[in-house]
């Protein structure tokens, strides 16, 4: 069973200060750390689990700049067999729709039974590339997959709905699935595997090598800004003892504890 996994290298912003750069359309990245997008690590792990069960090859693909090769090498170390980087530096700004179309032009000629993608990228948070890619490739899909197995060329899929409810589906392959976090326990790459992956070749595809040169854009990001604060928080400052004391006082005053 051949599997393609779409992965993205993203800045880790959940616990970092995020500043807007001078263009007003991007963030200052030099003090941020970068890593594989969270749900993509679960997508890769699901691919490795399927390969362990059914055999076949895993190809990881990323549309990114040169440093995306680090991310691809980690995927190789974790069990992917082939890696492809499409050179993001060959393009001007790309929106999610253009990214989907570029991925399609490369993936359509590859061998696959399953395509996995993360359900959301933590940087731009669109949650649209996987499902768009499935439509462009004219294959079935399911988004937000939280449990996954294959029986006789059909996927047995649990999709996560609101409120903890699960939608149980039966989908024919080939198909694309966007993977939700928590579906499995992503493994760490061993040091030996990382060393071995460092020597593996990554296939690099430039814009000129694509069969298509124009990719229609759906949207343009005009500006980034700090969201207005809807509710004014009362900050309790001072040392831990002082702030705790103030909070305990508020709890008492309001009869909360």
């Amino acid at each position: 069973m051949d599997i393609i996994v779409c992965i993205k290298r993203v800045p880790q912003t959940s616990e970092a200060e995020v500043k807007i750069d001078s263009t007003g359309k991007d963030i200052v990245k030099d003090r941020l750390t970068f890593d594989t997008n969270e749900s993509d690590t679960y997508a890769l792990e699901q691919a490795v689990l399927m390969k362990e069960k059914f055999g076949g090859e895993i190809t990881v693909i990323s549309l990114g700049e040169e440093d995306a090769e680090d991310t691809l090498r980690i995927a190789l170390a974790k069990g992917a067999d082939n890696a492809i980087r499409i050179k993001a530096e060959d393009f001007d700004e790309l929106d999610a729709f253009q990214t989907s179309q570029i991925l399609k032009t490369v993936i359509k000629d590859l061998s696959y039974d399953i395509i996995f993608a993360g359900c959301i990228a933590t940087d731009d948070a669109y949650s649209q590339i996987g499902v768009t890619l499935a439509e462009l490739l004219e294959i079935p899909h399911a988004a937000l997959v939280i449990d996954f197995d294959v029986n006789e060329n059909r996927a047995d899929v649990h999709r996560e709905l609101e409120g903890g409810l699960i939608e149980h589906l039966d989908i024919s392959l080939p198909a694309l699935f966007t993977i939700q976090t928590g579906i499995n326990e992503p493994r760490y790459a061993s040091l030996i595997a990382i060393r071995r992956a460092a020597k593996k070749e990554i296939q690099i595809i430039g814009k000129d090598e694509l069969q298509q040169s124009e990719f229609i854009s759906n949207s343009v990001l005009e500006e980034l800004y700090v969201p207005p604060i809807s509710k004014q928080v009362e900050l309790l400052d001072g040392t831990a003892a002082e702030s705790s004391s103030k909070l305990a006082g508020i709890f008492k005053e309001k009869g909360l504890v």
Partner: protein, 322 residues
């Protein structure tokens, strides 16, 4: 400007709250631009759903067929693509929900309609359509301009357009669908309900929520002790469940539980909108987080910007001294 269509979302015979919010969003835009709102329902035995939204839209279009009993992105896509191609609405609004995320990108791509997802606000001027959405873990907002086109499709985040009363005169139109059976390539089998655990976090007056900031599973004990000392229960955000440190029934958020306690203390939780959707109804919200830019501080009544490992033991003592 031609019409605004919204997709009514329902599940297990119940209309979903997002439907009322989409109707409110649609009516607001229709009023601003002298347009009309059409609600589209795909379902089976839809009388109750139609009744509930009557007067909320200028028109309701109903595809009532057993094939639409449960949501299926593939059957929905076939029926809606046909409807949109025939009627060319200016704007088609879908919830940014588990259903909407599964449907919108494929439907809009098939129709070659510019679309975007997870919108908090929509602005239309001179046929140009702009949306506001959040990026980078909710720390920044973005204004996004869509490619100019006679029609657009958007998914709208829950909680951005409050449901409202309305008394429109509603025309109801029943339509026959192109789809009469579920395609073999995607079959709905069943819904699986979440298993109830030992603690029901929706029943407690005091809930202590923990997130990524807790760092290690071993640190849970400290939080359990703190929660017990103030008569509360421990709940969490998604990463804690993903790591298997707490069971799924302790998760607060859109894919977990919605809680409305008297007091919610968010500890080491950044405040992703999916989490906020589950706790914003709490009467008093306290956030303790060392990241001053964490979006949770936009939701909290009281905040402490500090290391939770320093604050929690002292806070426990201070409360005990009261």
């Amino acid at each position: 400007m031609s019409e605004i269509y919204i997709l009514i979302e329902h599940r297990q015979n119940e209309i979903r709250d997002i439907s009322y919010e989409l109707l409110a969003c649609g009516r607001k835009l229709a009023e601003e631009h002298n347009s009309t709102v059409t609600a589209v329902i795909l379902g089976y035995n839809t009388e109750k759903i139609v009744e509930k939204i009557e007067s909320q839209a200028h028109k309701i279009m109903v595809f009532d067929n057993e094939v639409f009993k449960e949501f299926n992105a593939e059957t929905y896509q076939i029926a809606l693509a046909d409807l949109i191609q025939k009627n060319n609405p200016f704007l088609f609004l879908i919830g940014h929900t588990a259903f909407g995320m599964d449907l919108c990108p494929a439907l809009a791509t098939q129709l070659n309609i510019p679309f975007t997802t997870d919108c908090l606000d929509v602005e239309i001027s001179e046929n140009k359509l702009r949306v506001v959405r959040h990026m980078f873990d909710g720390k920044l907002a973005a204004k996004v301009l869509l490619r100019e086109n006679p029609s657009y499709m958007l998914t709208i985040r829950a909680g951005c357009f409050p449901a409202a009363e309305s008394n429109l005169k509603t025309e109801i139109e029943k339509l026959d669908s192109l789809v009469s059976e579920t395609p073999d390539y995607r079959k709905f089998l069943e819904y699986i309900e979440a298993v109830a655990g030992d603690v029901d976090i929706t029943k407690s007056d005091i809930v202590v929520g923990i997130g990524r900031g807790i760092k290690e599973q071993d640190n849970l004990a400290m939080i359990e002790e703190f929660a017990a000392s103030i008569g509360g229960v421990v709940a969490c955000s998604r990463p804690i469940v993903d790591a298997d440190w707490l069971p799924k029934d302790r998760q607060v958020g859109s894919s977990g539980k919605v809680i409305k306690p008297k007091l919610y203390i968010a500890i080491g939780i950044s405040g992703a909108f999916q989490h906020v959707a589950g706790m914003k109804g709490a009467e008093t919200i306290v956030a303790i987080n060392k990241d001053a830019n964490a979006p949770i501080f936009h939701e909290a009544d009281y905040g402490i910007i500090d290391d939770l490992f320093k604050v929690i033991p002292v806070l426990k003592e201070k409360i005990a001294e009261l």
